[in-house]
Amino acid sequence: MKKIINQPENYVNEMLEGLYIAHPDLITYTNDDLRCLVTANKKEGKVGIATGGGSGHLPLFLGYVGKGMLDGCSVGDVFQSPSAEQMLAVTKAIDSGAGVLYIYGNYNGDIFNFDMAAEMADFEEDIRVESVVAGEDVASAGPSKEGEKNTRRGVAGIFFVYKCAGGAADAMLNLDEVKRVAEKAANNVRTMGVALTPCVVPRVGKPGFTIEEDEMEIGMGIHGETGIRRGKLEPADQIVDEMLEKIVNDIPYVNSDEVAVLVNGLGATPLDEQYIVTRRINQYLKGKGIKVYRYYVGEYATSLEMAGFSISLLKLDEELKGYLDAPAQTPFFVQL
C-alpha cells in the first residue's frame, strides 16, 4: 500500500483538517464535528441542499459544497455512510426556513441514514426535508419498471443532479420545485465506468480485488463492485463505443437530443487519456445525431487511486440547460 498518510485511522479527519485550512472562504463545519461540513456563505431564504456519503471519492461528495451548488455534506469513513445524527446536524445548520433537499447516491447505508435523519429533522426540529436518490449506473442493474424501486448504484452522474438542483435553489425556487428539478436531472442521467486497477482502503491496507496486468473490468462500481464483464484491455475507442452503446440505448436518446457529457477520471488515469476518450465520445455521438451542449472533463468522482474512467450523459431540456449553465463556486468546481 503506497499512500502518503499517517495513521490510517486518522485518514478522514486529517484530510478534512487540510481541507478547512485550504478553503476557509468557502467551507466550515458545524456541531464541533469536522465531518459535518457546511457552506461558509449561507444564503438566507434559500432551500438548503445537503449530501453525504463515504470518503474516498474526492471531489465527491463534499467538494461541491459552496456557492450555487450544495450547502452541506456529512462525511463518512472511507466507503462508509456518515451517521443520521451528523446528517441532522448539517440539516439544522443549513436550513433557513425554506426546507432542505437531500441528494445522495443509491446505497443501503446512505438511504437508511438519510431517511432516519429526515425523520429526526421533521420530528425533532420541524424542518421539512425532501430526498432525491441518484442511481444511474447502467451497469449495476436493469432499468427499474414503473412503480418499482430503482436498484442502480449512484456514481459520477450525481454531479449533474447537484449542479441542476444547486442552480434551481440559487434561483430561489421553493423546495418542491428544487426537488422537481433534481428529480428531472436524476431521471435523465446515465453513467457507465471501466476500471483498470483496484484501490486500497487505508484501514484495510490491501486491494479490494485483483485484476490482471492486461485486463479491464467494464461496469465496475466505485467501491469495486463487480461489473458487466472482465476482458483484455482494448483500444480507447473500442472501450468508449461499448460504454456509449449501453448508455445511449438506455434512456434511449433520439436523434437531435441534446446532452451534457461528463468524462470522469477514477483517480490514477491521466487527464490526457480522459481527453482521448472525449475525442471518441464526440465522434460517436455525432454519428448518432446527438448534440453535445457542454463537456465536463476531469476527476469529479474518484475511487481512491483506482485507474479507469466513467462517462455520464445528461439529457437536457431548456430548463436543465439554464441551471447547468448557472455560475457556481466550490473548492473543486468553479464555473463562471
Partner: protein
C-alpha cells in the same frame, strides 16, 4: 418490570453480540464484507452505555436513546436498521414506566416495524426480518394463549432459530448478497443471525 429490566435486557444483548463477534464476522465474510461482527458488538455496546447511567424512568425514552446512540456509533446497514428498531420501540412505548408481559411483546413488535419501515424489505427477502418476524409472532401467540413469559420467550427464541435456518431457502434481494442472485440461496443470512441472538439474550433475561 421497569427501567431496571430494560437495562438488563440491553446488557444481555450487548454481551451476546460481543461474545458472537467472530461468529458474525465469519457469517458476513461469506456473503458480504465481514464487518457485521464489529458493527453489532460496537453498536450494542454503545446502546447499552448510553442508557446505563441514566436516571430516565420513561422506558420509551430509554429505548429511543439507545437507538440514537447506536445509529451514531455504527451508521452501517445493520447498525442503522437496529437503531431504527430501538427508536420505533421507543416511540411506541413512550410514557411507560412499568411494563406488562404484552408490553414486552410490543417492544419486539415495534422493533420489527422500525426495521421494516427503514429497510423496506419484506419477510422472505432473506434479511433480519426473517429471524425476528417469526419470533414476534410466536411470542404474541403464546402470550395470547395465556402462557407465562419464560415459556413464551423460549418459543420465540426457537422460532427465531428456525427463521434463521430457513434463510438458506431464500434468495437475497437486498444489500451486497443480492448481487449473487440465485447463488445466494443456500447461504445463511447474517442479519437473521443477529435476530436469533437478540432472542437468545431476551430468553436469558426471563428464563434466568
Amino acid at each position: 418490570m421497569n427501567r431496571t429490566y430494560i437495562i438488563r435486557l440491553l446488557k444481555e444483548i450487548q454481551d451476546i453480540m460481543v461474545g458472537n463477534r467472530d461468529y458474525l464476522i465469519n457469517l458476513d465474510s461469506i456473503v458480504g464484507d465481514g464487518d457485521l461482527g464489529l458493527t453489532m458488538s460496537d453498536g450494542f455496546v454503545a446502546a447499552y452505555k448510553a442508557v446505563l447511567d441514566s436516571e430516565e424512568p420513561d422506558i420509551g425514552k430509554i429505548l429511543y436513546n439507545a437507538g440514537k446512540a447506536m445509529s451514531t456509533a455504527v451508521p452501517s446497514t445493520m447498525g442503522t436498521l437496529m437503531a431504527s428498531g430501538f427508536m420505533q420501540a421507543g416511540k411506541v412505548l413512550k410514557g411507560k414506566t412499568e411494563l406488562t408481559d404484552m408490553d414486552i411483546a410490543d417492544i419486539f413488535g415495534a422493533y420489527l416495524e422500525g426495521v421494516a419501515n427503514r429497510g423496506k424489505a419484506k419477510v422472505g427477502d432473506k434479511t433480519f426480518l426473517d429471524g425476528l418476524d417469526p419470533a414476534v409472532k410466536a411470542l404474541k401467540e403464546a402470550l395470547n394463549a395465556g402462557e407465562l413469559l419464560p415459556v413464551a420467550a423460549t418459543k420465540a427464541r426457537v422460532a427465531a432459530e428456525e427463521g434463521f435456518k430457513n434463510t438458506t431457502n431464500m434468495i437475497a434481494v437486498h444489500g451486497r448478497a443480492a448481487t449473487r442472485g440465485e447463488a445466494s440461496r443456500t447461504l445463511e443470512d447474517p442479519g437473521a443471525a443477529v435476530a436469533m441472538l437478540i432472542m437468545k439474550a431476551f430468553e436469558k433475561t426471563v428464563v434466568g
